[in-house]
Symmetry: D2
Subunit: 290 residues, 4 copies
């Protein structure tokens, strides 16, 4: 068969059977002009690019030829610019490099594979649709908190106990979301910084995730991992471990507040990355269906 569809996947069919009610949770931040983002990336910009007013003033289509537009048809479009890591997003393999050869996962060196217009391999064009059982590990709930305090490191014990408390055993095909509770304050990033800034997954927590064999992890924070780094000489050890060494994709700013409010632990998780060639990630609108 010439089709480029993926092979049959019993796990996927099983996960589609999880929802009982068909209620959908939107796990994304939403996106808007000049929304908060990582300081190293460009701001999200949205500018009107086509308007009926402009089309009339400039005599452009569809107002360019008398008699062809008696109904006064016009169209509206925009120019958008920014980083693919804005709001809820997933990291592609090429996002993080390490070592004197600046290699990303799989030993690809930026010197040979990073051009002026993005990465030639390990880029967003390789990101698959993500469909599977989602599991929420609600760490503040485990600890009787609303939100984790600043710089709190989520360790293996927290993750294991949160899974146990939810009555769930993580398997390799699960998509694991770790909650710190920061999104409670979103988009007030000053308050996030004050109340929970830098809380995130620690190195032993990340090692536990690796040990489970999962391919996708996410959290409700900008950086997924605890900040500042607890590892001298390695500014982002969890990114290095998960993404660079193990090729485990990281999703950030995944909003888990509604799931947590409703006590949802497992669900059908769906996210569909945009396969932009050269891109180092993709904005994502993940959903949970219960």
């Amino acid at each position: 068969m010439s089709s480029r569809s993926t092979p049959p996947d019993a796990d996927l069919v099983r996960s589609l059977g999880l929802p009982a009610t068909g209620s959908v949770y939107d796990l994304s931040t939403g996106w808007w002009r000049h929304m908060p983002t990582f300081a190293g990336n460009p701001q999200l910009e949205v500018v009107t690019y086509n308007s009926p007013q402009g089309q009339r003033a400039e005599g452009r289509f569809p107002f360019d030829s008398p008699g062809t537009n008696d109904v006064g048809f016009g169209y509206v479009s925009e120019l958008v610019s920014g980083s693919l890591h804005t709001g809820t997003h997933i990291d592609a393999l090429c996002h993080v490099t390490c070592g004197s050869e600046d290699e990303w996962h799989g030993g690809t060196s930026a010197t040979s594979a990073l051009g002026d217009y993005g990465a030639l391999r390990g880029d967003a064009s390789e990101l698959a649709p993500i469909i599977g059982r989602g599991v929420l590990l609600d760490v503040p709930k485990l600890l009787g908190l609303d939100v984790l305090p600043p710089h709190f490191a989520v360790g293996e014990d927290h993750l294991r106990q949160a899974a146990d408390a939810g009555g769930v055993t993580i398997t390799a095909s699960d998509i694991v979301l770790v909650r710190t509770g920061q999104m409670k304050f979103w988009p007030d990033t000053a308050r996030i910084a004050e109340e929970s800034g830098g809380s995130g997954v620690g190195v032993d927590g990340a090692q536990w995730l690796v040990s489970k064999g999962v391919r996708y992890v996410g959290a409700d924070t900008m950086s997924f991992e605890v900040r500042p780094s607890p590892v001298p000489g390695n500014p982002l050890p969890v990114h290095v471990l998960l993404l660079q060494q193990h090729g485990i994709h990281i999703m950030e700013w995944v909003n888990c507040e509604d799931l947590a409010a409703d006590g949802v632990v497992t669900f059908l998780f769906v996210a569909l990355p945009l396969t932009l060639r050269g891109g180092t990630g993709s904005p994502l609108r993940p959903i949970a269906v219960v």
Copy 2:
């Protein structure tokens, strides 16, 4: 309950039960720098914005403080710009206006609701996740063709007969995809223009879709509708009918070739628009699961 999840939806649960094998079709065009797009919109641009080489040369994070980055950690990101109507995408309500007041669906006038940074209402931030039974109406197959000829108008009869040939009855919760076959040549838009340019849904075809009560339609072409317009004084009558008058969202450049090659007629359809405030549409990576 404070949750913002959607209400229970039996149709949605039913559609999740459609897949038997879990095989996934990617119905998107993919995206790449300077890919073909509508001439009235800006080109898609992708530029490397953070690289280990740049971070080193400029002494920026994570190469800004000696002793903090012994592992040589670096990160890669990009600046992307373009229109939300690039590649496979969905039109938001505000995309099309009509009349002396430049109104989009629901009587919203661009004068009061279109700003410099996009639309204030009827914009992409209102686009819901799209999950339901997808139906492919394969018109060239019905006619014993590979691809519809240039300027071929797909009428009510074609759509009805294609549905009958597929043994399917359209219901209001279906997502209906109309195939012209143009994507066979994608991304060779010169060849598309030559072999099938302007083929698309005609006004009576669109009226039939309206009569079925569907909320989402799509096609494998840039404009969905037959071009040039068969209606004097109305350059895009099908957009006006579906989007402006009936609020039916149109998806364009939806790649149906693999579904058609495998003879798939019904399937689980999932697409997750990005809810960008002000946006007039969203790039879309729709999938079909069988």
Copy 3:
């Protein structure tokens, strides 16, 4: 003669004769990525767009054909984006509108002459080269100050006395620069705000400039005029008076510190606006030659 050169101009020749030494003052702010600018305008962005590294990795020209580039030739270029009102700049006529018809100078309404891609008339493409006698009116020097205090309104008396103190009589062909001293702190805009924020030309000062018949005025501030507005119901009365009513071009962020330090009062002033069609102004690198 078919030439599009300007007519003979004795004033211009006279002003070219002013310099005695040929020493040149750069009156511009300079420009750099993310430099301070008016909050309503986009930030200045500079991104490397072509690099030898990128050209090699992507196999692009001039590294696309073996044997054609034995010398290892490469080229570097950039993508720049921002507002034309960044750093030292001049306002085009279309920059400011007034009234229910949103008219700029000459009664041109934005409704008919402002499109999605800039203004159709009164735009930067109409800006002439600016060559003439420059006159510095050093108000803080007149008052025995280093810098004018916050919200200080420069009135007719200040301007007249500063001219008198400099021993100069303003004529219609002069380019008049008003100094507040703010640039002493440039680019520390927080300190500018604290020490001199909002100081600028008041309405009677502007009327005096109008009475002199000059075509170009400038100041060493972001807004030229005193802020907040002293005129109820008119947020920028000096812009309205000078630019909208009288078509007098305003130059902003003109750095007069070196001229002031050297006690220069009159000089050859040259500035060459970029004639970008649709543009509402132009970045400017004015020079003074003495």
Copy 4:
């Protein structure tokens, strides 16, 4: 003295004395959205970013507070993006690299001095105001032609004879402009390609310019030099010779048609590059005053 003005310069004063009439020639191409440019650089884009209509619809300043804007003041600005090498422009030293270390003039390697946001040295921020005697070498006139034929190499003899014919002796402080006549067809680049494409200065012509000690040269073409390269293994030998080896700045797309039509040979030349940090050149509006 704390002043940062340049030292006295008798040559400069002398050149200011050249004009007899004060008539000004604009030697620039002008700039407009989507104007022709080198294919390797981004297109020039201009989008309206602030409009009275948008400010009203969005309730933004100056339409944000009732009672503060009774006069209906509004302002218009834009978002511009593109390359600094668009239209008439000058190349900064960092524009061209050569060798295995990708060095630009002065032995600066791109590896250490080119970041993600432009060049750290040899960039546009180092470009001085250009004021001096301009000399037009009108090669087609010398040869009795309107325009040089395609791929015509302008050699030492042509330049020398054109100078002789104009009765001028080139000195080191002159700015030398070489005319091919291509601008006669501007902006019809298809016709330029057909009638004169690739005509430009050859290697021996460039060597003669080097021998004269000049610091600035220009031509009325996109690439200054004859194309394709006559030197095997070196795609742009004249750029390498002038800019990379000798640090002589090259100006391109300098419109000499009006000067030529009027038979002007020597004149006061003024151009004021924008000193954008990181930039690899600057758009330029050079003028000739006679």
